[in-house]
């Protein structure tokens, strides 16, 4: 009873001080660091999204990959997860004049599937699409055109090659300091978050706890530095509903850690993406394609194979 009285008296004092203070604004802000929902809404509406390259895919994602959120993308081997990761690392750098974020990317590679010639090819494809949609722009700003070179896009990707889960944990911890020094980074891509944790971690319970800690850190980074975090995940089989089905790896508790989840799969001869989890958007699926220029809408006319020198 004493404790309750103490709490009530403190609340009473708090109430009085609040009434004295909040004369101008009606904002409801008791706790430091909290935001009210109205402020958040106006912030969300002014938030830019990172385009994936495919209009349909952007559509089911509500405009693209959201900043301040963690998005998980999973699929079978060869479906194009790395392609999408590279496409996002390029697209985040699209200058603000052309509708992009003009930011840089951090690419954390755990599997070694980052092939730099393909990144160059995708950068070229992105630039050629920009030139196509904004034909008069580059006449006005001659300095802007100099920046639209594939080399400058490649220079804007910070690449870490991770060879063990210890390094993976270390790099995520180190990101806080790195992001403090490089404030123009707007996306962090981890390709893939699963590999080392499936390989080398023997104690599964400890693995779950470590992964939980990592995902919390990533969420915190995304919110405090206003960037998008994209985690690429592998698939595994799970026995549910009487048969073996495909599901994303790392277990059930990990599946709670991400804000959004996108599953890439084959539907007949087409690649499709299924939005499995999102706080504000309905589940939906849409086809997309991977072309020589990168990720685009399904049925786009760009030729599929181009010789890479």
């Amino acid at each position: 009873v004493d404790l309750l009285l103490l709490i009530f008296s403190r609340l009473y004092i708090l109430d009085i001080t609040m009434n004295c203070n909040s004369t101008a604004s009606h904002s409801f802000k008791y706790v430091a660091g909290a935001q009210n929902a109205w402020d958040m809404l106006s912030e969300e509406q002014s938030q830019k999204h990172i385009t994936t390259g495919s209009g349909d895919l952007n559509g089911i994602l509500g405009g693209g990959i959201h900043c301040k959120e963690v998005t998980e993308i999973g699929g079978v081997p060869g479906i194009g997860k790395t392609q999408l990761g590279i496409q996002l690392a390029i697209n985040v750098q699209i200058p603000v004049d052309y509708g992009g974020l003009g930011g840089k990317a951090i690419y954390i590679d755990t599997e070694g599937s980052f092939m730099v010639e393909r990144v160059y090819q995708i950068a070229e494809g992105c630039i050629s699409d920009i030139m196509e949609y904004f034909p008069c722009h580059h006449d006005k700003s001659s300095s802007g055109q100099e920046n639209l070179q594939p080399e400058s896009f490649l220079a804007g990707i910070y690449y870490f090659r991770i060879c063990s889960y210890t390094e993976q944990i270390a790099v995520i911890n180190y990101l806080e300091k790195f992001l403090g020094e490089h404030k123009d980074v707007r996306i962090v891509i981890i390709d893939s978050v699963t590999f080392h944790f499936r390989q080398d971690f023997d104690d599964l319970a400890l693995r779950t706890r470590v992964l939980c800690g990592l995902s919390l850190k990533l969420m915190k980074l995304s919110k405090s530095y206003n960037l998008a975090v994209v985690l690429l995940n592998q698939v595994t089989t799970k026995f549910t509903e009487g048969s073996f089905q495909l599901t994303l790896a790392l277990g059930d508790s990990w599946s709670h850690s991400c804000t959004n989840r996108l599953i890439l799969y084959w539907k007949g001869n087409e690649r499709c993406a299924y939005l499995d989890k999102s706080p504000s958007l309905p589940v939906a699926s849409t086809p997309y394609a991977v072309t020589s220029k990168g990720v685009r809408d399904a049925g786009s006319s760009s030729c599929k194979r181009v010789r890479v020198m």
Binding site: G112, V116, F160, T166, E167, Q234, Q245, R305, V308
Partner: protein, 371 residues
């Protein structure tokens, strides 16, 4: 990086003592624990634990490079970072050939030509650079006793007659190929370990493992623990890391097995929609690559050797550089030859399926003599 010693990290003395007292000597020890557990282990406050983790992470983190620096390095090292297979269509599809520093898998039913492919690659790597080779040694791990030096010399003589006519060259080339024949899984892991030193010291330019699935029985693989607990898991990490460290191509050949009920094919959101489509799909492609889906994720490039419609095909099933494309081929006295350099585009479930129809491959000789 994971094994970096805490004592080398120049931490402030009180932290260094604290970590040493609890026997946390490497970066791995410190970072494997969640912060709260570290806090209780060190018997210190959260701030101290966080500080320790922060400093250790900074030291254990690998250096950062921009993608542009990677490209420039690739250009500087020259050679396009590839080992050309001399199969023009395949080389073009792969951006020049088998990539250096990555794991390439060759998978297909038995008797289709995987070993022929590996023999030719082994030969190519020993050739001088003016002939498109890597001018180095090759380590060939032969788990199924399929390596035939007579056959390899024959391939060499028929493919590069001008080189092999020279005196003693055949001996020199063959002398650069080191063949190991582990008899069991433990021999295999032991020879891999020993090879680490050989690879780093000598001029080894190619590592071939033919085949990695030999020691796996189907019971091993289909156990509920699957690949995670299997001893080959270590071999996989080793092969990938040695490939990257030494920047050599590592080619691994894999077997196939028949599909089982344990293989999942659809996600839960798909299953509800499919009615009886399952049966038809399963009958079409009754073979899958051995070693499971985790292995499939881990390899960078997957070349599927299959046969259907009376022909054999090499299919690029997984590659970060190119879409799926299949090339028909035959096996001749000079090794594998593509019948068509343009290739056929492949999409959908055909990419990952492995077909073995229309030929009694087990009854065929390793090559068909063509005059």
């Amino acid at each position: 990086m994971a094994n970096k010693l805490v004592s080398d990290m120049c931490l402030p003395p009180h932290l260094a003592h604290l970590l040493a007292a609890r026997r946390l000597t490497t970066a791995k020890d410190v970072l494997s624990l969640p912060e709260v557990e570290l806090m209780s282990l060190l018997d210190a406050g959260l701030a101290t634990a966080r500080d320790a983790v922060c400093r250790v992470s900074e030291f254990a983190c690998p250096p950062c490079q921009t993608a542009l620096a990677l490209l420039e390095e690739r250009v500087r090292l020259g050679g396009g970072g590839r080992l050309a297979t001399t199969l023009c269509g395949l080389d073009e599809a792969l951006g020049g050939g088998i990539p250096l520093g990555k794991l390439t898998e060759v998978v297909g039913p038995s008797g289709i030509g995987k070993t022929q492919f590996c023999l030719k690659l082994a030969l190519l790597a020993t050739l001088p650079e003016c002939y498109g080779g890597l001018n180095g040694r090759v380590v060939y791990i032969d788990t199924e006793s399929k390596f035939s030096s007579r056959r390899m010399i024959e391939i060499g003589q028929k493919s590069f007659p001008q080189i092999f006519r020279q005196e003693g060259l055949a001996q020199k080339m063959a002398g650069r190929i080191l063949v190991m024949r582990p008899a069991s899984l433990s021999d295999f892991t032991k020879s891999l370990e020993q090879m680490k030193v050989t690879l780093l010291q000598n001029d080894v330019k190619l590592l071939i493992v033919d085949s990695v699935a030999a020691f796996m029985s189907s019971e091993n693989e289909r156990g509920t623990t699957g690949f995670t607990q299997h001893p080959l898991r270590w071999a996989l990490s080793f092969l990938k890391s040695i490939a990257e460290l030494t920047r050599i191509p590592v080619v691994v050949s894999n077997q196939v097995r028949s599909q089982s009920n344990d293989d999942g094919y659809h996600y839960s959101f798909e299953v509800k929609r499919r009615g009886d489509g399952d049966g038809a799909e399963r009958l079409e492609s009754h073979l899958v690559a051995a070693l499971g889906i985790q292995w499939a994720h881990a390899v960078t490039i997957r070349l599927v050797f299959e046969s259907h419609s009376g022909q054999r095909f090499i299919k690029v099933a997984k590659s970060p550089m190119s879409p799926a494309v299949a090339f028909p081929f035959i096996v001749e006295s000079s090794g594998i030859t593509l019948l068509n350099d343009e290739g056929i585009d492949v999409s959908g479930p055909e990419i990952t399926s492995i077909r073995c129809q229309g030929q009694n491959l087990l009854g065929l000789l390793p090559f068909e003599n063509r005059g």
